[in-house]
Amino acid sequence: MNENAQAVFNRPQLFGEAVTHYCPGCAHGIIHRMVAEVLEELGIEGRTVGIAPVGCAVLIYNYIQTDFIEALHGRAPAFATGLKRVSPDLIVFTYQGDGDLASIGTNEIIHAANRGEKFTTIFVNNAIYGMTGGQMAPTTMPGQITATSPHGRNVKECGYPIRIAELLSSLRTPAYIERVAVYNPQNIVRAKRAIRKAFQYQIEGRCFSLVEVLSTCPTNWGMTPQESLKWQETTMLPYYPLGCFKTPEGEVKE
């Protein structure tokens, strides 16, 4: 670096040195970075405990340098509930995939949200089971070909994809819930703002907060990273509209 050069964008310090195990172009990496940046910017990394999912992000603790607990598949919200209830001064967040959160763990996330547990969930929706090799998820798009829907998801047999942000927002308990995407820089910037907001609500002890991030799985989608982002925009977006679905303020006004 040139002498009086100034870094205007750095790999966040909170990232260790490790190269991630993610496939090239997988958006998990982008989302990890945003979480790390937010924790750093808010200065809460020293009192944060993350809950890792079972899914491709299971090794997140190798990348974000905070305390971590590895949850069982789908149960991160239960872990977070236990931890946050006994240690309310900690900042607790879960990072969950769509198989994890929207399939096996639906009960745990709904009830954590409904009890208004004061932790933050980063929900990474890539419309597939990445880690186990690309099986259909509840969030898989109609017609999408996966290892267990070789002729494309048949909505007559498997129903329509579950929209978690909408589903959780229909609960009465106050919460902050927003859906964001990462298919271009504008959206990455918006996504990070949402993540920051989610943590801020927790810092203020306000409510449960969840950010659904539309992600990608180039490997199991059988696309290049670039095509994956395009597919996210053109195929996922119409079904998974972006935006803020719920804020505690909104609820208070109600």
């Binding site: 100034q6 964008f9 190269v19 991630t20 993610y22 998990h28 990496g29 970075r33 910037v189 990273p225």
Partner: protein, 77 residues
């Protein structure tokens, strides 16, 4: 003048930076990294506007954007 540093140790050659640079000054190098990937490279440093888009989209934290003096901020990240 702004510029970017790409850490080949992290780069997995996903090309997302290449595809999103508004100045189209990034490209893939022909060299294989020690992880077996072709890495990205900055082929026309003089035209870099320091907008940070490449770093924003990089899933592997491989890009540092530096600047001394003026640069364009397309996003307030």
């Amino acid at each position: 003048m702004p510029g970017v540093i790409i850490d080949k140790g992290y780069c997995k050659g996903c090309e997302l930076c290449v595809k999103s640079c508004p100045q189209q000054i990034l490209s893939m190098s022909k060299e294989i990294t020690n992880r077996g990937y072709f890495s990205a490279q900055l082929h026309d440093p003089s035209r870099c506007i320091g907008c940070r888009i490449c770093a924003l989209v990089c899933p592997d934290g491989a890009i540092t954007v530096v600047s001394h003096g003026q640069r364009y901020e397309l996003y307030d990240y």
